[in-house]
C-alpha cells in the first residue's frame, strides 16, 4: 500500500525527488531573501521622520536632546542640521497601535522614528526649506518650536521682534506647504502633512499660554501676508509673470488668517504648550502625544 502510493507520487511529480525539493526550497526562500534584502537596504531611510523648525533660540536642539535622552543637554546656536533616532516613550501610544490590546506583544514595541533638527538662524534656514522642497515620503510631520516668552511685547502696540520673526518663519514654511499642495500633479494632492506648533518655555512667567500663542501668531501672520502681497517683487521675477507670482497664504479673502484655513491644503495645525527646561523638569508630554498620533 505504502509502496504503491510512493510510486504513484514519484510518477506524478516528475523526474526526480531532489529536483522537486530544490525547486520547492528555492521557491519558498527566494521571496523571503529578496524581502529581507530590500528591507535591510531600506531601513535607514524608511523610518518615519519629523522636522524640527523654528526661530533661533526657541529650544529646538534642547528639545531634541530631551526627545532622545529624557533630559536636556546644554546647547548653543546650531549651524548644521542633525538627525537623531528617537523611540516613543512607553507612556505614549502610537496611533496605529491604539486598538491593539494591552497584551498584544507587538504593542510593546515602541515605534522608532527620526527627528531632523535644523538651525534657526536667519541665514541658515535654507536647510529647513530644502527639506521641505524635496519630496519626503517619510516625513510625518513638522514641529515648529516657538519661544512663548519672546512673543509678548514691551512697547505697547508694537509686535515683539520675537513674534514677528516667528510668524515670518512660520508664514514661509506654511506657504511652502501650500505650494506643495497647489503644485501637486495628482488630483488627490499630496498626503496630509500635519504641523505642530510647540509653544515652548511655558515655565517662564513671561510666557504666553498656548492659546494666546496661537492667536498672536495668527494675527501676526494676517499682517504679514498682506504686506507681503503688497511688497516689491523680487529680482528673480520676470516682468511677464508679474502678478501670477504673488503668493497668498490661506484662503483668498482679505480677512483674518486662521490656522484652520490650512486644512484645505491638507495641513492640519495644532498648537500645544510645554517646556523643555524648567524648575520641575521638562514637560513635553503634549508633544509626545502629538507625535504618537502621527505614527
Amino acid at each position: 500500500m505504502n509502496q504503491r502510493l510512493e510510486d504513484l507520487l514519484t510518477k506524478a511529480w516528475g523526474p526526480s525527488l531532489p529536483v522537486i525539493i530544490v525547486t520547492a526550497i528555492v521557491a519558498l526562500l527566494l521571496p523571503i531573501l529578496v524581502h529581507t534584502f530590500l528591507y535591510r537596504a531600506r531601513t535607514p531611510t524608511s523610518l518615519p521622520s519629523f522636522l524640527l523648525v523654528g526661530p533661533s533660540g526657541s529650544g529646538k536642539t534642547s528639545l531634541l536632546t530631551v526627545f532622545e535622552n529624557g533630559s536636556p543637554a546644554p546647547t548653543h546656536l546650531s549651524q548644521t542640521p542633525s538627525t537623531v533616532q528617537v523611540q516613543l516613550p512607553p507612556s505614549t501610544k502610537a496611533d496605529s497601535q491604539k486598538y491593539r490590546s494591552e497584551h498584544d506583544p507587538t504593542a510593546k514595541q515602541r515605534p522608532k522614528f527620526l527627528i531632523i533638527d535644523t538651525p534657526g538662524h536667519g541665514k541658515l534656514r535654507n536647510h529647513a526649506f530644502e527639506q521641505l522642497r524635496k519630496p519626503q515620503p517619510h516625513l510625518k510631520g513638522i514641529i515648529f518650536v516657538v519661544d512663548s516668552a519672546s512673543l509678548s511685547s514691551d512697547t505697547p502696540g508694537r509686535s515683539a521682534a520675537g513674534l514677528t520673526e516667528a510668524a515670518q518663519y512660520l508664514h514661509d514654511i506654511l506657504l511652502l506647504l501650500q505650494k506643495r499642495y497647489t503644485g501637486a500633479k495628482s488630483s488627490k494632492g499630496p498626503p496630509e502633512l500635519p504641523v505642530l506648533i510647540a509653544a515652548n518655555k511655558l515655565d517662564l512667567f513671561t510666557a504666553l499660554p498656548a492659546q494666546l500663542v496661537k492667536s498672536a501668531l495668527e494675527a501676526e501672520i494676517t499682517r504679514i501676508r498682506t504686506t507681503r502681497a503688497k511688497g516689491l517683487l523680487d529680482s528673480a521675477v520676470k516682468d511677464e509673470t508679474l502678478e501670477e507670482e504673488r503668493e497668498w497664504l490661506g484662503d483668498g479673502g482679505e480677512g483674518k488668517f486662521e490656522f484652520g484655513q490650512m486644512e484645505e491644503v491638507n495641513v492640519p495645525i495644532k498648537v500645544v504648550g510645554g517646556n523643555v527646561i524648567g524648575a520641575d523638569g521638562s514637560d513635553i508630554s503634549g508633544w509626545w502625544e502629538w507625535i504618537g498620533e502621527q505614527l
Partner: protein
C-alpha cells in the same frame, strides 16, 4: 585664569564642558553668530598671524579652534583683563586628545548623546601648561574639596593579594577636581604587581575598548574577593580613589624592589569599592565607579601622581601621534618618490572623477584661483572674492569629495552655499510691515494702550551721482502705491539743482497718484540751499508728525566717502533726524571702491548707529555682473534691500538671493 572651556558640535550640542566661573550662554552664542554664521569680518577679532584668532565679548576673551571633519568647535573663555599665553596650546592639545580618544563615538550617526570622561585629561593639560607658563594655578583655586589630601596617614603595606584590576577604572571615574600639586614624592609608593600586562602608556584603542566594556564583572568579582580577604574598610574611602590606586599599581609593575607602604589602605579601599559596586548592581554595569562622588578625587595625592604619570604618557603619545599624522600627511602631499608621485597623481585623477578624495590645500589651490577669477569677472571686489575663496577653502580642506563629484563641482557647491549665506539677510526685510508697525500700531490683545503713531523716517545716503534722488522717488512711488502719505524732505542743500530735481520728481509722482486715486499723497519739504541738512531733516520729521504724514523720505547730499568733513556731518544728521532706516545707494557699476564706500558710510553715523541696508542702482546695465551686491554685503554684513532695475518709477525690486547666486555662478 580660565573661566570656561567647552567642546560643542556644529549642530549645537555641548559635548563636554568645564566651567570654573559660570558665564552666560550668550557669550559663546554670539561667538558662533558673529564669527561662524554671519562671518563678520570686523567683529572684534584680533588678527594675529602667529596666534589663534580671538573674539571679545562682554569683558571676556574667547579663543577657539575647530575639528572640521568631526564638526567640533573648541572654545576657551577667559576674562580679557588677564593675559593667558598658553590657551592656544591648550586648544591644540585638547583638540588632538579629544578627537583621537573619541573619534569613533563622535562619528556615530543619528544621536546627540555622547558620554565621555575627558576631565582628567583636560585638568592635567591645564595644569601642565600653566606650570610651563609659571602663571597662576587654576588647580589651586578650583580644587576646593581636596582638603582631605594630607589627612590620610600613610599606611603600611601588607603585600596582600592583589585582585586583578578592573579595566580602566580611571577613565570611568570622573574626577571633578584637579590633583593637588603638593603631593608627596611618588617614588615612595611602589607596589609590586607583576601579573599585570598593560603597558605603561596604553594605546588609545585600549582605552576605548575598556571604556565601552562594562566595568563590572571582573571588577566586581575581584572586589568581592578582596572584601572577603581584607579587613573592613573605613567606609568613606571612595571607590574612585581605589581605582586610581589600582591603576597606579598596574603602572608600577616594573617596580618590584620596595615594599609598598600603602598596600593595606589599598585593599581596604578596594573592598569598600567592591561593596558599593555589589550593592548598586542593578544601577547598571558601570554605576559602581561612576556613581562615585567627585569630591573624593585626588584625596590621595601620592597615588594621584602615579595616575598622572600614566595619563601624561598617554596624552603625550596621543598628541604626538596626532601631530605626526598631520606632519606626515603634509609631507606625503609634498614630496614623495617619482613612482610614488606618479602613482599618486593617477589615483588622484581617478579619485577626482570618482570622488572620495580627501581635499588638501594644494588640491584646492588651482581651482580656487579659477573661482576667484570668475568672481572678479563678475565684478566682485578682490577683497570679497579672496575672502569667499578662503571660506570655501576652510570649508573644504580635510573633507572628502562625494562620490562621482570632481573637485571643481565640490568647490562650486561650496561657493554657492557661501554666497547664499553671505547674501541672505539675518532678519527678514519687510519694509511695509515695519512702516505699519510704526505708523499704525495694532491695538492687539497684548497691549491695552497702543503707542502713539508717528511717521516712519527713511533716509538715503551715498556718493555723488549714484542715483540717490531717483531711488528715493522709486521708494516713494512704491509707498504711494500702498496708500501712504509721504513727505519727501530735500536735505541736499549743497548741490545746486538738487531741490529742483526733487520737485520734478514730486510733481510726477503727484500726477501718478491722482491718476490712481486712493488715499495716497505726496509732498515736498524744502528750505532752499545752504542751511544745515540735519536741522532741515529734523524740521521735516516734526512737520510730518504734525501734518499726519506717515512716511518721511530724506534725501541727502552726495558725498565722497573719503571726504572727512562731509562724512562727519552725517553723525549729527543721524542724531537729529533719527531715521528708522538709513539706506545707502551704491552703483552696480562701481568696482573695488564699493567695499570702501560701504565701510566708510557704515561708520559715519557714530557709535551704535550704522547703515540698515543697501540700494543697488542701475542693475539693469550690468547684465550678470552683479558682484557689487556681494562686495557691499561682504564689507559690512548689511543686507541689500532694494535693487534699481530701470528708468521707471516701478523699476524697484527686492533682492532674490537665489537669483543673485545663479547669476554669479553662471
Amino acid at each position: 585664569m580660565l573661566d570656561s572651556f567647552e567642546i560643542l558640535s556644529t549642530s549645537g550640542v555641548v559635548l563636554w564642558s568645564k566651567t570654573y566661573v559660570p558665564i552666560g550662554a550668550n557669550v559663546i552664542n554670539s561667538l558662533i553668530k558673529d564669527i561662524f554664521i554671519e562671518e563678520r569680518a570686523g567683529a572684534a577679532i584680533d588678527e594675529d598671524i602667529a596666534q589663534k584668532p580671538t573674539y571679545k565679548k562682554e569683558g571676556y576673551t574667547l579663543k577657539w579652534t575647530t575639528a572640521k571633519d568631526l564638526g567640533l568647535i573648541f572654545v576657551a573663555v577667559y576674562q580679557s583683563l588677564i593675559h593667558l599665553s598658553w590657551i592656544d596650546k591648550l586648544l591644540d592639545n585638547v583638540r588632538a586628545l579629544f578627537t583621537e580618544l573619541y573619534r569613533d563615538d563622535l562619528k556615530k550617526r543619528n544621536t546627540t548623546s555622547f558620554k565621555c570622561n575627558f576631565e582628567p585629561y583636560f585638568d592635567r593639560q591645564v595644569q601642565e601648561l600653566e606650570k610651563l607658563d609659571g602663571g597662576s594655578s587654576i588647580a589651586a583655586q578650583s580644587s576646593t574639596s581636596n582638603s582631605a589630601a594630607e589627612l590620610t596617614p600613610p599606611s603600611t603595606s601588607s603585600g596582600a593579594d592583589e585582585p586583578p584590576p578592573p579595566p580602566l577604572p580611571l577613565l570611568k571615574a570622573a574626577g571633578q577636581k584637579t590633583f593637588s600639586e603638593h603631593a608627596p614624592s611618588t617614588d615612595s609608593t611602589p607596589i609590586p604587581t607583576p601579573d599585570t600586562s598593560r603597558p605603561a602608556s596604553p594605546a588609545v584603542s585600549h582605552l576605548l575598548q575598556a571604556k565601552q566594556r562594562p566595568t563590572s564583572r571582573r571588577a566586581r568579582k575581584a572586589a568581592s574577593v578582596a572584601a572577603n580577604s581584607a579587613p573592613a574598610s573605613s567606609g568613606d574611602e571612595s571607590p574612585m580613589y581605589k581605582s586610581q590606586t589600582l591603576r597606579a599599581k598596574k603602572a608600577r609593575k616594573w617596580d618590584a624592589n620596595g615594599m609598598a607602604d600603602e598596600e593595606d589602605d589599598t585593599v581596604l579601599d578596594y573592598s569598600s569599592a567592591g561593596r558599593g559596586d555589589e550593592s548598586s548592581k542593578d544601577a547598571g554595569p558601570t554605576s559602581g565607579v561612576e556613581a562615585v562622588s567627585s569630591s573624593s578625587w585626588g584625596t590621595r595625592t601620592g597615588k594621584g601622581e602615579f595616575v598622572l604619570k600614566e595619563l601624561d604618557d598617554e596624552m603625550d603619545s596621543i598628541i604626538s601621534s596626532a601631530n605626526a599624522k598631520k606632519a606626515s600627511s603634509a609631507e606625503a602631499s609634498g614630496s614623495s618618490g617619482l613612482v610614488g608621485s606618479s602613482l599618486g597623481a593617477i589615483t588622484g585623477l581617478f579619485r577626482n572623477v570618482v570622488g572620495g578624495k580627501t581635499l588638501t590645500k594644494e588640491d584646492l589651490a588651482k581651482p580656487l584661483k579659477g573661482m576667484e577669477d570668475h568672481l572678479l569677472n563678475k565684478n566682485v571686489a578682490r577683497e570679497a572674492a579672496v575672502r569667499l575663496c578662503e571660506s570655501v577653502e576652510n570649508d573644504l580642506v580635510g573633507k572628502k569629495t562625494e562620490s562621482f563629484t570632481s573637485i571643481e563641482t565640490t568647490i562650486r557647491t561650496s561657493m554657492e552655499t557661501a554666497l547664499r549665506k553671505i547674501l541672505t539677510p539675518t532678519t527678514s526685510l519687510d519694509l511695509l510691515r515695519e512702516i505699519q508697525s510704526v505708523t499704525a500700531p495694532s491695538s492687539s490683545f497684548l497691549s491695552s494702550n497702543p503707542s502713539k503713531p508717528r511717521p516712519y523716517v527713511l533716509s538715503i545716503v551715498g556718493v555723488n551721482g549714484v542715483g540717490k534722488s531717483t531711488n528715493l522717488s522709486k521708494i516713494a512711488y512704491f509707498l504711494l502705491q500702498n496708500r501712504y502719505r509721504v513727505l519727501i524732505a530735500a536735505a541736499d542743500t549743497f548741490r545746486s539743482g538738487a531741490v529742483e530735481q526733487l520737485r520734478v520728481h514730486v510733481r510726477n509722482l503727484k500726477e501718478l497718484v491722482t491718476r490712481e486715486g486712493g488715499g495716497a499723497e505726496v509732498d515736498i519739504f524744502e528750505k532752499g540751499y545752504g542751511k544745515d541738512a540735519a536741522n532741515i531733516a529734523k524740521e521735516a520729521v516734526d512737520y510730518a508728525a504734525k501734518e499726519g504724514y506717515q512716511v518721511v523720505l530724506i534725501d541727502t547730499a552726495g558725498r565722497r566717502h573719503n571726504d572727512q568733513r562731509l562724512m562727519s556731518s552725517l553723525e549729527k544728521f543721524a542724531k537729529l533726524a533719527n531715521p528708522d532706516k538709513i539706506l545707502m545707494v551704491g552703483e552696480a557699476l562701481v568696482g573695488s571702491d564699493s567695499v570702501q564706500q560701504a565701510r566708510h558710510f557704515n561708520e559715519a553715523f557714530g557709535k551704535g548707529r550704522g547703515l540698515d541696508g543697501f540700494v543697488i542702482s542701475k542693475c539693469d546695465t550690468v547684465g550678470d555682473m552683479v558682484g557689487v551686491i556681494v562686495s557691499m554685503v561682504h564689507a559690512t554684513g548689511i543686507p541689500v534691500v532694494f535693487l534699481g532695475v530701470g528708468q521707471h518709477y516701478g523699476d524697484l525690486r527686492g533682492l532674490s538671493v537665489q537669483w543673485a547666486v545663479r547669476l554669479l555662478m553662471q
